[in-house]
């Protein structure tokens, strides 16, 4: 077992299950120069957590996740799975390790000529489980994902959300330690996405499986992840608890993801404005109504982006400050006194 090196927060971390050390991946190109999709990536995934990796399309997310189970061999750097260096394993050993890393995909990748039950049996056949035990286990898993009645349906007869549930059941068949999800909800509509994410969370809590979620959607990260890494052009821009990154994005990449271009507030020009960051300790309404009551002056909310992240209310709000400088200062002071993180914003937010 591989016990904890110190994490980014400086405190001794829980057990690390997947550890990436200085991972680099360069693909050969026609001109011979090569294209480096991953630059010097180091990450520690803790046992039992739901870890998100977010980035724009082409950032290198799929390449990174494929390095974790060595579907892609890194050009340099190491992948440690439960402390074992994957590059040092023989092929049969690597194939066995892959049985303890489940994977689901955007396009589900189910076998089209097999029923739901037969699809779930598939990894068990590969692992050499005998037929009776295979079917029993597959039935159990279809039950878990809520599709016991669809055991004899073919993927073409199932909806996208149902297909992904079958894929989840299949990924869990060999009782993996880690579940890799590469854009697993990107082909699904928002309500189906929520259902699938709820299932993934349930699996994480019930079975204690570590989950690594790859996505380009901040909403997915907010919904389910505890920690997140932001990947930008093949480099890790930022890693940390989701609520921190959401409230205090440090990198440009993080700011772009947290505050998408459409929601920027350039249009609210003129006058003094301030940004209030909610870090999960206070709620929104009391703050605003207290201000109104205390100063007997209307508060104009210019922009609000408020979410429940990991059970906590977090987000940010931009309000217009009164013209009266003295009143504005008193309002700022009052909010700071309540322990809110407040900053005046000027120009481009």
């Amino acid at each position: 077992m591989y016990y904890g090196i110190r994490g980014d927060d400086g405190i001794s971390t829980p057990e690390t299950i997947v550890s990436l050390r200085n991972l680099t991946k360069t693909f050969p190109t026609a001109d011979g120069a090569g294209f480096t999709a991953l630059h010097d990536i180091s990450l520690d995934i803790r046992k039992g957590e739901i870890f998100g990796i977010i980035g724009m399309s082409g950032a290198g997310k799929s390449t990174l996740v494929r390095c974790i189970n060595y579907l892609e061999r890194p050009t340099s750097g190491t992948v440690l799975f439960q402390g074992r260096d994957l590059s040092k394993l023989s092929m049969p050993e690597l194939l066995r390790v892959r049985q303890s890393i489940g994977m689901i995909f955007q396009q589900f990748n189910l076998l089209m000529q097999r029923t739901a039950l037969q699809n779930v049996c598939f990894p068990l056949e590969i692992a050499g489980v005998e037929k009776k035990a295979r079917i029993r286990r597959a039935e159990e898993l279809l039950e878990l994902v809520g599709l016991a009645d669809k055991r004899n349906s073919y993927p073409s007869q199932l909806s996208g959300g149902q297909c992904q549930r079958v894929a989840i059941a299949r990924a869990l068949a060999t009782s993996p330690q880690v579940l890799l999800c590469d854009e697993a909800t990107s082909a699904l509509d928002p309500s189906t996405t929520r259902g699938v994410l709820a299932l993934i969370r349930e699996i994480n809590e019930k079975l204690g499986i570590t989950v690594i979620i790859i996505t380009h959607e901040m909403a997915v990260i907010e919904e389910i992840c505890q920690r997140v890494a932001i990947i930008d052009a093949g480099r890790i821009a930022e890693v940390g608890p989701v609520s921190d990154i959401f409230t205090h994005p440090k990198s440009d990449a993080a700011r772009r993801l947290v505050l998408p271009p459409g929601e920027r507030v350039e249009e609210f020009m003129g006058g003094r404005r301030c940004r209030i960051v909610f870090d999960g300790r206070s709620a929104f309404e009391p703050v605003i109504s207290n201000l109104v009551l205390e100063f007997r002056h209307p508060v104009n909310i210019l922009y609000a982006n408020t979410k429940e992240i990991d059970g906590k209310a977090v987000g940010q709000m931009i309000i217009a400050l009164p013209e009266d400088d003295h009143l504005a200062e008193r309002m700022l002071g009052s909010m700071r006194a309540q322990g809110l993180s407040v900053e005046e914003v000027t120009g481009d937010v």
Binding site: N69, L71, L94, L95, R96, V97, R98, Q99, I101, G102, M103, F105, Q107, N109, L110, L111, M112, Q113, R114, F122, P123, E125, I126, A127, Y154, P155, S156, Q157, A167, T174, L180
Partner: protein, 220 residues
């Protein structure tokens, strides 16, 4: 014109044609199917790339595919004699038919397997499947409907090759059409044999497509 003898001859012709076509198709698939799988698997993007083997297989297939069947048929006569003992008759014709169609079938199988979504193969690899397991549990079952559709094309091609074999004494309907139509100008008999060839092609194709459809779970 259509006396007892002619009817019997045509009846025999039908049986000989079916015998040559179906036996050759069967044997050609025994060779062509693994060859097609090998072409995909050993490719540089395949699940088990073997560069040199892939190049050799491709060269062999391309050479055999580029020789016109009529010439191939005559070219392999010594081999046919060595294997069957004669170069005449339906059984002897099976040898050139197999040699001529197996590489074609390999290409058909290759393209059927290449239709499979790469993601499905990747999923199998992510579960720790070995190349052999992927071949038996993913590539062949997932490509089966498409391979069966390909078989309709293969059987039609082999039937038309078998008719050509009539020229060098291969017997069957093609032989009858050539002898009566070309050498004796008995157009009636030629028309009948041609019609029968068309019907046989239609029936074989329909049966094959029916099996293919029944096997495909993709649209239901």
């Amino acid at each position: 014109m259509f006396d007892q003898a002619v009817v019997k001859m045509i009846g025999n012709g039908i049986l000989e044609t079916l015998y040559m076509t179906l036996t050759s198709t069967f044997i050609a698939y025994i060779i062509g199917l693994p060859l097609g799988v090998a072409l995909v698997v050993t490719d540089k993007d395949g699940i088990h790339p073997i560069r040199w083997l892939n190049s050799i297989l491709n060269v062999i297939v391309n050479i055999l595919r580029s020789i016109p069947f009529l010439i191939l048929m005559i070219f392999v006569t010594p081999l046919t004699r060595a294997i069957i003992g004669t170069s005449l008759g339906p059984t002897a014709t099976i040898v050139p038919l197999v040699i001529g169609s197996a590489p074609f079938i390999a290409r058909l199988v290759e393209s059927s397997i290449k239709e499979i979504d790469k993601g499905v193969i990747e999923a199998a690899q992510s579960m720790g499947a070995k190349p052999m397991q992927i071949i038996w549990k993913v590539l062949l079952p997932e490509a089966r409907p498409s391979i069966l559709v390909g078989a309709a094309i293969a059987v039609t091609t082999i039937l038309s090759y078998s008719a050509m074999a009539g020229i060098i004494g291969g017997r069957g309907l093609g032989d009858i059409a050539i002898r009566y139509g070309y050498y004796r100008y008995e157009n009636g008999i030629m028309f009948v044999t041609v019609a029968l060839l068309v019907i046989i092609v239609q029936v074989l194709q329909e049966v094959d497509m029916m099996v293919a459809r029944k096997n495909d779970k993709r649209r239901k």
